[in-house]
Symmetry: C2
Subunit: 186 residues, 2 copies
DNA sequence: GCGAAGATACCGACCAGCCGGTATGTTTCG
DNA sequence: CGAAACATACCGGCTGGTCGGTATCTTCGC
């Protein structure tokens, strides 16, 4: 059996690495290549090892989705806390998280959105989150102009998803400030 | 056996139906469920019958992609021809095609975008089409404000894709005229 | 401290089912 | 007839998933 499992046991690390690798494969190798085997290989674990942490592929994608959603949620909260202006506060935070100017790391939205394509149940989870958030900030972010800005933000990260490495048609920094400007009351 | 193929032979109809069913499955049952068997079943044909029309699954998706892209292209051309104002003409046509107020049938974008997730080659095709179109109308649609509007349009049909049956957070008609307004020179 | 004892983490082999694809038959059209 | 338009049967490969086993961690009596 060639003792291969004499590695140090660090379940939390392995589990996290599985999620990370799954996210990366999802984004830059496409949805079709997100197989249990591929994820396990990328994380340096056997398929059986992966299935130990996540009872099924479904559970894996669910966990991935939940993690990214939580990450986005926290990011937005932090961003909102640093914003002194009430009007359009959520929309600005949403834009900051998606455009990622001055942010570090990849946008959680990427993996999120691809996940929704694989499973209708995940779509529902996303919808729930978004509408809950919208309801929560309806006083400050209910205006149609702000909804438009949020739509634009969605369009931007969609472009990022479809063209990961090519440069955008217009300067992101300029686009960003343009969008932020649109969230100021007139 | 059991002579099941006593139906009238109408290859063009069957071929088209295969494409339609593929598009529908793609949009509302997710990418993972787009199998040759499923498409064949939905179209009332056996798997072998499908493979007769499209030599491979790859060919099927390519044909689907090409058809939807051609459809979108024609729609935009027609929309632009009916627009007397030069500035932002392409952007308005793009918005009309995606928002689909006063348009009939589903947005071709939906199936288009999901297709791009399955095959990187299709992404490239989409990018090529879009940048070619952008280059062609750079004189009338090069302004950053118009790019923003187009981003917003992308965001809208993305929402349609993720929430096919739920009603949008704001009135589509109002959103539409708001976006059109943004394409008028100031 | 130490060592038994169980729980946890992980491996490796295996399986049933579905996938895309092929090869071949049968029916209908021109 | 002959060719196109299908249906049927079947195959190899890969998929997600199971199972039994082993190595490491943790707990706890002493």
């Amino acid at each position: 059996m060639s003792l291969a499992n004499q590695r140090k046991k660090e379940p939390d690390v392995v589990r996290q690495k599985l999620l990370d690798c799954a996210a990366q494969i999802l984004v830059d190798r496409g949805l079709a290549n997100l197989t249990v085997q591929a994820v396990a290989d990328a994380a340096g674990v056997t398929k059986g090892g992966l299935l130990h942490h996540f009872a099924s592929k479904q559970k894996l994608t669910e966990a991935l989705f939940a993690e990214k959603l939580r990450s986005l949620d926290a990011e937005i909260d932090a961003s909102m806390a640093a914003d002194p202006v009430a009007y359009g506060r959520f929309t600005r935070a949403y834009v900051r998280s998606t455009l990622r100017v001055g942010q570090t790391g990849p946008c959680p939205c990427a993996a999120l959105s691809v996940s929704t394509l694989v499973d209708p149940a995940l779509r529902q989870a996303w919808r729930d989150w978004y509408s809950a958030r919208l309801q929560r900030h309806r006083d400050t972010d209910g205006a149609p102009e702000l909804q438009l800005v949020r739509y634009a933000a969605d369009g931007v990260w969609l472009e990022d998803l479809m063209a990961p490495d090519s440069e955008p048609p217009i300067d992101r920094q300029a686009l960003f400030s343009q969008m932020i400007d649109l969230t100021r009351k007139r």
